[in-house]
């Protein structure tokens, strides 16, 4: 297990290296003086031209491209991503401030969509061809077709503005502190973010369960005289779980991407809304850093999926 983790990490290293290289290339090619995001804005404000040139020299900005890349990479590895072009705040601090909100939202959406999606898919498969199955199939199709942000807008209109059940947006109010107080703020964004993933998981869980229901071992389980519920759940659903875990892993990037839009609609103070602001302001260091982090998240997710698959299916060997 530990050996596998290590091996896997080593296998990912070239990929990550390539990514950082591309990101650095992007930074170099995009407009914006590199000095400004290495030195910090206050320092820059107090300098004249010759001082700036000296700074460039001392920072090694006139060094060959590869040398600069490795120096930048060294900084990244130590958690130094440079400064935001617009606010002058270290990027690491911005991300650290905003990451918890995004993680909270994504985890909630993931939890909802995994549980709800699997349960609905299971119910759909067990009632194949019946009214429930048909209704869920159509609902699932609607779930993957309606744009997430449109779904978000409608739910704000209905639940926040008309019914006034839930807040319109934001993560918290000043007087609130605990997670429990924040929960009403979390409900809508998490549900909306999870909706298309729920639909996706449901469609896949249904197919995977139908596949399992047709397997020979289901007949064997019945031949032992087990009750139907045990045959369906303990034998069928358990065997259907591994493919579902794989799908959830494949869908995680979409969840991470979706959080960008959802954070905007619900004014959720996460990394996603910061990313949008950076894209609008052409704040390239921030854009690149967040993009790099999202890749890291995707790779981490695929690693977790491998672990989950190996845990769920004894035939899968971690190698």
């Amino acid at each position: 297990m530990i050996a596998y983790t290590l091996r896997r990490f080593l296998a990912l290293a070239p990929m990550m290296l390539l990514m950082t290289f591309l990101v650095f290339l992007g930074l170099e090619l995009t407009p914006g003086d590199a000095v400004s995001f290495i030195a910090g804005p206050e320092a820059m404000a107090n300098m004249d031209g010759s001082q700036l040139a000296a700074l460039r020299e001392s920072l090694g900005l006139d060094d060959p491209f590869l040398a600069r890349y490795f120096r930048w990479l060294g900084g990244v590895l130590r958690g130094d991503f440079g400064y935001s072009l617009t606010s002058g705040v270290p990027i690491a601090r911005i991300v650290a401030e905003r990451l918890p909100a995004t993680l909270e939202l994504s985890a909630a959406a993931l939890l909802v969509s995994t549980l709800l999606g699997s349960a609905l898919g299971l119910a759909s498969a067990l009632n194949r061809g019946k009214a429930l199955d048909q209704a869920l199939t159509v609902a699932g199709m609607i779930g993957v077709s309606v744009p997430e942000f449109f779904f978000g807008l409608v739910s704000i209109l209905v639940f926040s503005i008309e019914l006034k059940w839930l807040p319109v947006g934001g993560r918290t109010r000043p007087e609130y502190l605990g997670l429990w107080d924040r929960l009403p703020h979390l409900v809508l964004p998490a549900l909306v973010l999870g909706v298309s993933m729920t639909a996706g998981v449901m469609r896949y869980a249904r197919a995977s369960m139908l596949d399992a229901l047709g397997k020979d071992f289901m007949r064997t389980a019945r031949s032992k005289g087990l009750p139907e519920a045990r045959v369906d759940l303990v034998h069928g659903f358990r065997a259907a779980l591994a493919p579902i875990a794989v799908l959830i892993g494949f869908r995680l990037p979409m969840l991470i991407g979706g959080s960008v839009v959802i954070e905007q609609i619900f004014q959720w103070p996460g990394v996603g809304s910061e990313f949008l602001a950076a894209v609008r302001g052409q704040n390239y260091p921030l854009v690149m850093t967040i993009a790099l982090l999202s890749v890291l998240a995707v790779l981490a997710a695929s690693f977790l999926v491998d672990l989950a698959t190996a845990a769920l299916d004894p035939r899968v060997k971690l190698s």
């Binding site: 990037p253 991407g257 854009v287 999202s294």
Partner: protein, 311 residues
């Protein structure tokens, strides 16, 4: 078996089976004829419905200049924020522009972006994927790596990153979609070709000494087309969703061009969201309906192209 019928609790299924049995015994049933795929597609009511909705939306977008009474860009400050009426079917927006006309004209751009990107991505993906899958080689390995790099990003983040670099315009958007979207179809085509390569007819063609290009694109590719068509359909839907999301965020097509996403952009204002529903609700529903219809068509295509499903 009257005795049996009286005894067991008989379900509707039993009645149905009885009817089949009686028909069978009377010799009324025979083997179904014609194309199974076509029959399945026609038998799938949801796909047919999808096809109808799809055609209706595409046609009305194409015929927009003849259908609409108003210029989609014409600002009319005397009739601002009018609710839907006989004069303005979907009402008017903040600048007095007719929303119905904007939705139809916007559809042209949105569908163009979606379909164009899907076809562009498919063209590159198929071209590289089929030859790569058939021949392999260092170029293929390089493309595979490249597609991995692209696919490691959450798609919308990569798209936004590229938008921030190249700037906003319709053609830039299509280029970005193609650049970020070719990977999935490339990998799928490649995988299909890898398995087709092992089939005997391919070995035979090779033994005849046919040129690789001919074998690859003329003899093998057609056999991989079924799933590719499904993929193109579904990626059209995906790109339309992405264009809408980007434009809604104000980062897609420049705001002065009407597209479905740009019309929805007005809903970023909580005031519009709460009080002027007609500005954003109809266009959002049209996007949803359109994507839904494309997805139903894609599903129908997949079912009818999949020989493993009996019926």
């Amino acid at each position: 078996m009257p005795e049996r019928r009286a005894r067991a609790g008989r379900s509707r299924l039993d009645g149905k089976l009885d009817r089949i049995r009686e028909a069978e015994e009377a010799g009324l049933l025979e083997h179904a004829r014609g194309s199974r795929a076509l029959r399945k597609m026609l038998g799938n009511r949801l796909s047919l419905l999808g096809l109808a909705v799809f055609s209706a939306i595409v046609l009305s977008a194409l015929l927009a200049p003849w259908i609409c009474r108003y210029d989609p860009q014409k600002i009319d400050l005397r009739s601002v924020l009018r609710p839907p009426s006989a004069a303005h079917l979907f009402g008017t927006d903040k600048l007095g522009r007719d929303i119905f006309s904007r939705v139809l004209h916007g559809g042209r751009i949105s569908i163009l972006v979606g379909l164009g990107s899907a076809l562009g991505a498919a063209a590159i993906g198929i071209l590289l994927g089929s030859y790569g899958g058939y021949k392999g080689g260092p170029a293929d390995r390089a493309f595979l790596r490249l597609s991995e790099v692209f696919m490691a990003f959450p798609q919308i983040i990569l798209v936004l990153l590229l938008v921030s670099i190249v700037g906003q315009s319709v053609s830039n958007l299509v280029l970005i979609f193609v650049a970020t979207g070719w990977g999935s179809i490339y990998r799928m085509t490649r995988a299909r070709m890898l398995s087709i390569r092992e089939e005997e007819y391919v070995q035979a063609l090779r033994a005849f000494g046919l040129p690789d290009l001919l074998i690859c694109y003329k003899h093998m590719l057609p056999n991989a087309l079924g799933p590719i068509m499904v993929n193109i359909t579904l990626s059209t839907a995906m790109f339309i969703l992405q264009e809408a999301a980007l434009s809604f965020l104000g980062l897609g097509v420049p705001l002065e061009i009407a597209t479905w996403g740009n019309i929805l952009n007005a809903a970023n204002d909580i005031n519009v969201l709460a009080r002027y529903w007609w500005i954003w609700l109809p266009v959002g529903s049209v996007i949803s309906l359109f994507v839904l219809s494309v997805n139903f068509i894609g599903d129908g295509l997949r079912d009818s192209a999949d020989p493993s499903q009996l019926g």
